[in-house]
Amino acid sequence: MISTAPSPLDAAQLEATALTLRRRLVTTSAEAKIPHLGSCLSCVELLVQLYWQELHIDPANPEDPERDRFLLSKGHGAPILFQVLAERGFFPIERLANFGKPGSVFHEHPPKPGYIPGIEAATGSLGHGLPMALGMALAARIQKQPIRCYALLSDGECNEGSIWEAALLAASQKLHTLTAIIDFNKWQATGRSQEVLALDPLAAKWGTFGWHAQEIDGHDFAAIAQALLAAREESERPSVIVAHTVKGKGISFMEDDNNWHYRTPNPQELAAALAELEPI
């Protein structure tokens, strides 16, 4: 069995890591003019907790067959996932100097595996990542491998029928090694997610679909850790963690403002954002 994080981080280190990632994210997004900043900022804590505390992964051996699988089902969050993978040591951060440049593999969505260490699936078309993670979890059960599979979804992504197809099958298969995490930032591309398609009560919906459903504050590391532990301890049902988040979290003028789904910061906005992301 491969190791988890070499030395799990304490609460202050987790916060510091999230801050570093946010700084790099807004900087590279501004330089490369890559959108979906708001969607990336809402899932920073979720990714930090997963990559530093939860996933059984080894950045030096990213293709170990017994690694846990993490799929960014909300593929438009790739800009923050790239930062996470670099910081976690999957590849040198210098590679991200290419982000958004013509011919680079680092663009708006993750490419297929083999180009960027740590990327498990090409996502970006919504509704694919959870079913793929489900397939990986089913494969692990057939192959008798003790691994867990995770998919991070957006709330808008729960519009896709394939998400609910996967939810039904995972429940009938009692696939307790599968965990879906929903970055519930209450927005999708052009409107409030609740107004576009009535998702609420989202956790209850998953519950009635046969999942072990939890609702947490998606920016609270302790709450995320506790929910992931409870998911790990669940032995019958697949788990969903509905993480209440704020789109654009961490930068006051981006928080809960859906313009930052598509906009990228100009130099003044970048400076203002970075000023808010100074370590305390």
Binding site: P131, M132, L134, G135, L138, A139, I142, Q143, S162, E165
Partner: protein, 307 residues
Amino acid sequence: MRDAFAREMTALAAQRTDVTLLSGDIGNRMFDRYKEVAPERFLNCGIAEANMMSLAAGMALSGLRPVIYTITPFTTTRCLEQIKVGVAYHQAPVVIVGTGSGLSYAELGPTHHSLEDIAILRTIPGLNVLAPADQTELVVQLREALDSPSPSYIRIGKKGEPKLHRNEARLGIGKANLLYEGADLLIIGVGPILAEAILAAKEVAKEGISVAVASLGSVKPMDEAFLERMADQFTTWISLEEHSITGGVGSAMLEWHAARDASSVRLKRLGVPDVFIHELGNQKYTRSRLGLDAEGLARSIRKEFKG
């Protein structure tokens, strides 16, 4: 063909531990024997093909060799994006088997006709597109697909299709095969409908017209060496498919000839015209209505032969 598929899948599941069969809630009783051999490697994914296709991609990326089985429209166009992105872009070696292809389910109406699958799927990079003429060709293609590093789509009929290939030699991915010898004109196509072409060839032989019939078998990759040999031998070709004449095997042949500098071949495409078929009958009736049964094909042969 579907019984041959179930038999071969059972044999393959017994031989290898990575073969996994995913069904879209069809094949009642058909896979009982398979389930005895490999119960843990059979999964009824329900009537949820998009999820089934993506999860197959996930399984294949984890080292299994999943084979998806359901009725052709539902395992092709229903979940096309999952085939394109999850399976083909990832080069996840999934084998997609569409049963009841073409007009096998003619009387079930346009919902169950698959007349566009070849056209659409052959545009997807890295996907083998296979259309066996009979169960012998199917079995060889299935085995090869499970050894291929690439994903494959295999388009099969339903049941009771006649055996057309004499043996397994010269069958497989990227291989075409001559089913019936002739000298004047070539019919080349895919699928069990080639049985009608052989009957037609026998009929027109009485009038002194010598027709060869070939199974292209593998639409992608195509057997270019075979096509070269045929192009040297025949100047009049008829393409035949239980599929739309738009974008299918006939179109692929035209593309091949157009790209080949030396071609002086005249090619007539036979297949289903660009319409939905809603005046329904069984496959035999529908083929006849469309001029795709032996009698109709004989008429087309006479016309092409006279030029």
